[in-house]
Symmetry: C2
Subunit: 323 residues, 2 copies
């Protein structure tokens, strides 16, 4: 599937392709220097075989290059990318281990390629073109099934000594808390993510089914999803609102810890769960302000919702490829 204008704009010397590799689909787009997506295309993630994923990326790039002259390709992937942005060290959902994705792709497409952590790419997009614009010290938190993040300091993406920083979803906030796929217990993403939202809603559905009627809409509790909770909350359902308030509270608590460590000027909250907007971010902001170390004696960061939506990964990856 390809969307967008088939007209190649004049003066397109600054076009790059951004690719967002997810567990279910690979999305790609042609992005200009203003962060506008001129055209996009996508395919299902073919399998968990790295070679087939590379095939899919190469095919999408070839498809988009039929209509646009591009100079670089940026790939955002959910995983740990080494510090020179060439190798996927570990990607839990893609079965990549020490995969030299940059060089594999560069030889396939004949263009400069950079590989970036997907949450870093999203953070960079929000910094350059979205809700973080103008904030040189910015923390983006991507609240999806888990929590990803990206950290911009002094106007630069901070990747860490080994390239695997900004995994703030795995700071421990509850000793001996819920188990996490990372091997630890009590990670922030077990309390302030889509997974936590669904856990809270299902618990209500099991314990007080009558309170969960509007979330369930006739289905069994184990089919409840995050968007069901958000939709019910947007209709004013008290149980769904309570779930978002709980998750938002944990979110704000973690943001207060991040403020103590990083002291950003702004937090941007993105990811699928942020579709709930102020129903999530309102409680997060309240808990953040109530939990900020030394509150009353310090300037406070603001907490806002991301504005670029699901295009952020493509836009950020393309922009990073152009730098």
């Amino acid at each position: 599937m390809t969307t967008g204008s088939a007209t190649v704009p004049a003066g397109d010397g600054d076009l790059a392709i951004g690719v967002d590799v997810g567990g279910t689909k690979v999305a790609a787009g042609v992005v200009d220097a203003q962060g506008t997506v001129l055209a996009s295309a996508r395919r299902p993630t073919p399998s968990h075989d790295p070679a087939e994923v590379a095939d899919a990326i190469a095919a999408l790039v070839a498809e988009l290059r039929q209509r646009f002259t591009v100079h670089a390709v940026g790939v955002g992937a959910a995983g740990w990318i080494d510090n020179d942005r060439s190798t996927v060290l570990f990607a839990p959902n893609l079965a990549w281990r020490d995969e030299p994705l940059r060089d594999v792709l560069a030889s396939r497409v004949g263009l400069p390629v950079v590989v970036e952590n997907d949450a870093n790419a999203m953070a960079w997009a929000e910094y350059r073109f979205g809700a973080g614009r103008g904030h040189n010290d910015l923390v983006c938190v991507t609240v999806g099934t888990g929590i990803g993040g990206g950290i911009v300091l002094d106007g630069r993406l901070h990747r860490g000594a080994f390239g695997i920083g900004a995994e703030m979803g795995h700071m421990q906030i509850v000793p001996d808390g819920y188990g996490c796929g990372c091997g630890n217990n009590g990670c922030w993403e077990q309390y302030a993510s889509g997974r936590a939202l669904v856990r809270a809603a299902r618990a209500i559905a099991v314990e007080s089914p009558e309170a969960a009627l509007r979330m369930l809409r006739g289905r069994p509790a184990d089919e409840l999803s995050g968007p069901d909770v958000t939709a019910a909350a947007q209709d004013g359902d008290p149980a769904a609102l309570a779930c978002l308030e709980d998750v938002g509270g944990w979110l704000g608590q973690g943001l207060a810890s991040l403020a103590a460590i990083l002291d950003p000027g702004r937090f941007v909250v993105g990811g699928g769960v942020s579709d709930a907007g102020e129903l999530l971010v309102g409680p997060a902001r309240a808990r953040f302000r109530a939990s900020l170390s030394g509150r009353g004696h310090r300037p406070e960061a603001d907490v806002v919702v991301a504005t670029l939506g699901s295009a952020a990964g493509i836009v950020g990856a393309a922009d990073l490829a152009r730098l």
Copy 2:
């Protein structure tokens, strides 16, 4: 009191004075470009009146300048310093509130002055001349009564959007945990600091006085101090070792969270409690490795003891003034 050589070295164009303002004493030193303290002097912190503290700093600077030609003065103070390094926003132990220390001092001494958070100055010293040398992504944790910290990223001190970052002692690690002077509960510094060490030791002394004999040395439990615990542990006392192991464990747990967020190449542990050396850092390192998110799939930072000791504050403040 003045120490050090009275001989002015040839080619001293790069000398700066570093000042470390503590709650009980003000220490100052002449530092060369290699981080060597050529001479030092100190006075008791005269009172909590900001004007008298400025008097003491100016007097120490004047005293040292009788023998050395210096070009800048760096002051490290325990407090929140604004991002342009001029104003102490809040210094709990010095009663400073929005104190324009840089300009007050610059007009008193007639030299360029920078004001820096004391833990930032110590971190910078360890990065430039101590245990962190060569690590451009470095986190220093200063374990004293509380926990301070300094963050070096890409070879630059990260101060935050408002200048008050790296206060990692106030990340929350235990929901509804011990109360903290910062207004919150469950801060890291309530579990992994000198205060926590003394709390643990006193609890043993009250509950099992016979187990605490070597720490107590005949005194009542409420006179037990951190150095007592360290000294007993160095003599092999099991109760004291258990206290350091407990505190070290919490320390390592917090380092694992910081690694998830910041991914430094090295952690340096300084401050008074680090005088216990491996008796503290050994358990911290063990817990850190056992708690690292995604361990086995990632490179790991090492955790080492600071090497500059109590001079770090002076050395770092002087070096930052010279930059």
